[in-house]
């Protein structure tokens, strides 16, 4: 039943996206593709933090793993896009498994520190093996629309279709996983590790699994973003990206997949909108490039003050039934002892 409901929602979303991609201009299509790539990565992160209770400040590194993995498969083996994306998922999941083993032993700030290190260190590997990774220039990646769509089919629309389609598939899978036994076990571990262990759950294995799933999503997001931006390069996977993903997950509402969509929309659209706004008000280049950074901070603070449970939590409070807010407030980042009000936490 749940699967059917999620599939129906995904199909409806696909229809809306298809209509929008035809209606809106090419640049909006490009932005949709960008949002979709971020959605996948943010969704993985929100599952990790919101459901399993682990934190990662270094998910940009897993995007890099997926991006480079995908690029190498595309360049050297000429795999078709769907296989490339699958390959990125596998490669990033392996990375996540290795790191997850270490992560399962770490708590709170120590885990945050370890993931932070990953985000800082990993991109420099590309500079060490320039023959494979292309050094600072990176590798260029591109896919083209299939021939049957005709030569005049806008490339940006094809990008939007591919990325949004992939993102929807990933979201359906994640939603089901969150509703399954695995998802319930994750929540149990998140809310009280000791109680979960007493109930017979293998805490470490569940935490590693969460890291694997989350890294796989980040890897897929990385591969999608590589295809969208046309390049994988160390400069694209800075700490800023990792922090941006975390911001989007918190802003959207931790643990909520729809929240990941809201967060990604903010991540992509707000800076671009603010830059345009600043430029159209006659601010000089230098000023208009600093304003969005400051305004972005203001947006962040405002949203968190108004909706401590993120955008999705806020929407539910405003429009939803009089149920308790289901997206997690930010204090879920700290470990909690009470497992009471979260039995019914949704993943949609």
């Amino acid at each position: 039943m749940t699967l059917a409901r999620h599939l129906a929602a995904a199909l409806a979303a696909a229809a809306v996206i298809a209509a929008l991609s035809v209606q809106l201009g090419s640049y909006r299509d490009y932005q949709m593709a960008e949002v979709a790539a971020y959605v996948v990565a943010v969704a993985g992160l929100t599952v990790l933090i919101g459901l399993s209770g682990q934190i990662s400040i270094g998910h940009g590194a897993f995007m890099a793993v997926g991006g480079y993995g995908g690029a190498l498969l595309l360049i050297h083996l000429n795999w078709p896009p769907e296989l490339v994306f699958g390959g990125s998922v596998v490669i990033a999941a392996l990375g996540g498994a290795v790191f997850g083993v270490a992560a399962a032993r770490l708590r709170g700030p120590y885990l945050a520190g370890a993931t932070l290190m990953l985000a800082v260190a990993l991109p420099t590997v590309a500079g060490q093996y320039t023959g494979v990774f292309g050094g600072d220039q990176g590798l260029s990646v591109s896919i083209s629309a299939p021939a049957f769509l005709g030569a005049t089919f806008p490339p940006a629309r094809w990008l939007a279709w591919v990325t949004c389609g992939t993102a929807l598939i990933a979201l359906v899978l994640l939603a089901n996983l969150g509703r399954s036994r695995v998802g319930r076990n994750w929540r149990a571990v998140r809310d009280d590790e000791v109680a979960a262990a007493l109930s017979g759950l293998n805490v470490a294995r569940l935490q590693i699994l969460a890291f694997v799933v989350s890294a796989a999503c980040a890897g897929l997001g990385g591969a999608l973003l590589a295809v969208v931006s046309g390049i994988v390069a160390p400069g694209a996977y800075t700490l800023t990206l990792s922090i941006g993903l975390l911001t989007a997950a918190v802003l959207g509402g931790l643990g909520s997949l729809l929240g990941a969509v809201w967060g990604s929309l903010v991540l992509v659209l707000v800076p671009s909108y603010l830059t345009n706004l600043a430029a159209s008000h006659g601010l000089s280049g230098a000023a208009s490039s600093s304003v969005p950074v400051a305004a972005y901070g203001v947006v962040l603070i405002t949203v968190m003050l108004a909706f401590p449970a993120g955008i999705q939590g806020g929407l539910r409070r405003l429009f939803g039934p009089a149920a308790p807010a289901t997206a997690l407030p930010i204090k879920a980042l700290r470990r909690r002892r009470s497992a009471s009000a979260h039995q019914e936490e949704g993943t949609t």
Partner: protein, 445 residues
């Protein structure tokens, strides 16, 4: 929302302009594309009867911003000047440069926005090798002119696969050959060390150096990663190898780090630095601020004194040069907040070249007209050596002069030399001379 309304208005204007021209053409019976009269029409995306919209991606914040963030404002200043003095056949240039923070993903977003949403006519002077590589395929498949990329990478010279892309500044291979040739002649038998950035910039430069300097003379070849600011190991290795001359293909921050680390190790080789990393004003500022962070006080000008480098634009120290007079005038009118340093000169010079190309492209140019205009060759102007542009060569400036930094300015020490990018191509003294700047400051159509 704002912008889509704006685009719609632009479309309406375009339709109106086309209708007006159609009527004029019907009335007169002729409407020459490149004639001196006839109505201005919306002949290409980004071109209306009133303006030419061009775009760029630039690092306005972030690691690459110090110094490089002056380039686009300087180019824009020149466009303002041209606009105030008649524009390009009456059209004003609108220069929209977006901040990419030197991050290739953002570059890609910026360029898609400029091309798809803002409908720019061309991308001008997009800055950086890794950043611009992210968009070069897209621009070429979309047939958007991609002119005068702000990077000396050889990769822009690929007319077969990138017909829309043109380099501009002296490329790093040619520059390496010029520096190598000078070192080979003036430091015969000395031990030579290389210090270079481990990417296309440094590697192309070393390629050029190796074409000229005998292998037996090179005692150490040390590269650095721009993300790692500790270069003490490299400098120690250069010292241990006994290098008497160090040739550096480094960005300004790393030239400063090389200089300060040498000072600390009491190592004083003759420094030979590529143009990219040797702008005396930028360098002196960096030296002083880095030393201050380390708790020391140094004189930037004293530390840059005697560095050998090269230049492909007239020396900023030559106050009697007509181009420097023009630059000084433009800076005081439009850029009073910035010093007249190498970056400002670079931005002004690149913009001048673009205006040359636009005048040559004709009165109502299509995008292809601009490409054809540059492929047909541009007359030498603001650079000391001619351009290489032809249908089969998309490199820009073909040579420069050797110089020594004296009191914070480049002092030329030899004639202008030109060369090519081949291992055996000879280095010859440029027989011609640089034309002086037009009195109006604007190239003639």
């Amino acid at each position: 929302m704002r912008s889509s309304r704006r685009t719609r208005r632009a479309h309406l204007a375009a339709v109106a302009a086309i209708a007006a021209v159609a009527m004029t053409a019907a009335a007169c019976g002729s409407s020459g594309k490149s004639g001196s009269s006839g109505a201005l029409i919306a002949s290409a995306p980004g071109i209306t009867a009133k303006q030419i919209l061009i775009g760029s991606h630039q690092p306005l914040t972030g690691v690459a911003a110090p110094g490089y963030d002056e380039i686009a404002p300087a180019s824009n200043a020149y466009f303002q000047y041209v606009n105030a003095h008649g524009g390009i056949y009456g059209r004003k240039i609108v220069y929209r440069y977006l901040n990419d923070q030197y991050d290739p993903t953002i570059t890609s977003t910026d360029v898609h926005q400029l091309v798809l949403q803002d409908n720019v006519y061309a991308i001008f002077n997009g800055l950086g090798t890794p950043t611009h590589l992210a968009v070069v395929k897209y621009l070429n498949s979309s047939k958007v002119p991609d002119v005068f990329v702000a990077s000396g990478c050889e990769c822009w010279n690929s007319p077969g696969s990138y017909p829309e892309t043109f380099g501009w500044q002296l490329d790093y291979v040619r520059e390496g050959k010029l520096l190598g040739n000078y070192v080979e002649q003036h430091f015969k038998g000395d031990k030579i060390g290389y210090f270079y950035q481990d990417d296309e910039f440094g590697q192309d430069g070393v390629k050029g150096l190796n074409y000229e300097i005998p292998k037996s003379q090179v005692v150490a070849s040390e590269s650095y990663n721009p993300a790692v600011t500790n270069v003490a190991p490299q400098v120690t290795a250069l010292k241990a190898a006994g290098a008497q001359v160090v040739v550096a293909f480094s960005v300004p921050a790393f030239t400063a780090l090389l200089r300060l680390n040498s000072l600390k190790l009491n190592f004083s080789p003759q420094l030979v630095v590529s143009d990219v990393g040797s702008d005396p004003i930028t360098l002196a500022g960096l030296l002083e601020s880095f030393a201050k962070q380390g708790g020391a006080t140094v004189s930037g000008n004293a530390l840059t004194q005697g560095i050998i480098t090269d230049g492909y634009l007239p020396s900023l120290g030559d106050a009697s040069n007509s181009w420097i007079k023009l630059f000084t005038k433009l800076r005081s009118q439009y850029l009073s907040k910035l010093p007249l340093d190498g970056n400002v000169a670079y931005g002004l010079a690149a913009a001048y070249t673009f205006v040359q190309a636009m005048f040559k492209a004709g009165r109502n140019p299509t995008r292809q007209d601009l490409i054809n205009a540059i492929n047909g060759g541009l007359p030498q102007g603001v650079s000391v050596a001619p351009y290489a542009y032809s249908p089969t060569n998309h490199n820009g400036i073909t040579g420069g002069y050797m110089a020594v930094i004296k009191n914070g300015a480049l002092s030329p020490v030899g004639p202008v030399q030109v060369t090519d990018i081949s291992p055996t191509g000879s280095i010859t003294t440029f027989a011609g001379s640089q034309p002086s700047a037009p009195a109006s400051g604007i190239p003639s159509p």
